[in-house]
Symmetry: C2
Subunit: 133 residues, 2 copies
DNA sequence: TGAAATAGAACTTATAGGGTCCTATTTTGT
DNA sequence: ACAAAATAGGACCCTATAAGTTCTATTTCA
């Protein structure tokens, strides 16, 4: 299935919430309440987003998360890649696909690369801004 | 993960094989040998492709499968939809997503619809021909 | 009539994503 | 100094779903 992972979906919701009041610090439980998503899951997503440099965090009491880039500058591709890894519709390119080993010069690769590129650019043209009212 | 299902991947391989010698009748076991894919799986894919009108079949001894459209006329989108169902990166549109129920007028939908459209058109521009040498 | 092929459904298995929890670390306030 | 509140990071289980197999029915040709 060509489907977004749930975590990536949550990430967009959470980031859109952060973007609404940019500059403010929100804790994981704040965001859990605002988004109606379970707190452990929200926490998990936030940690990944920090690790990938999409948001910044402060520790300790009064700690929390902030968006340090403008919503227009955060691409959907960045968010998805942060949570799901590289955007590729097939792992054919990695050579792990069984079918590929058979054919010495895989004729399919060209076609899938074309598709992968199109999808990546589609996701790079949509920004967090597009997910806000 | 934004990833193609294995079955859809197999389908492209199988269809590309059929396209190489168009007009000829190939049995499931023929195609299994040519593609090095397990026969039961090849059979399963072929049945779906027939049901969705991508290929035609003849029963009985000397039966088999043929491609009745030109490779250029079979879009990647058609193949993927045949095996995986409608191409939509989120099922947000169906209203089944939990996050959507909360917000009366979902601001995310616009963004995802834009992405869905881009992906669909990307997959509609690639044809079976692109997967052949 | 038998052999070879597709049709279709049902069943089993395997994988991976989703979700939760636990421990460590950091910071603020008393 | 200590307690509380927050993030960091990892480990774990669990469930949903795709993948693969098998069985039975039907069709067709020799």
């Amino acid at each position: 299935m060509i489907k977004l992972s749930r975590l990536a979906g949550y990430a967009v919701i959470i980031l859109a919430t952060l973007a609404e009041q940019r500059g403010c610090l929100f804790s994981a439980s704040d965001l859990s309440m605002k988004t109606n998503l379970p707190e452990p899951t929200v926490g998990k997503v936030l940690k990944v987003l920090v690790r990938q440099g999409i948001i910044e965090s402060s520790r300790g009491v009064k700690g929390g998360y902030v968006l340090h880039k403008a919503a227009e500058e955060i691409k959907a591709a960045d968010i998805i890649e942060a949570l799901d890894g590289p955007i590729a519709i097939t792992d054919c390119v990695k050579g792990s696909e069984k079918g590929c080993e058979m054919v010495s010069l895989c004729p399919l690769m060209g076609g899938w690369e074309k598709v992968n590129y199109s999808i990546r650019s589609a996701l790079a043209q949509v920004t967090l801004k597009d997910f806000m009212t």
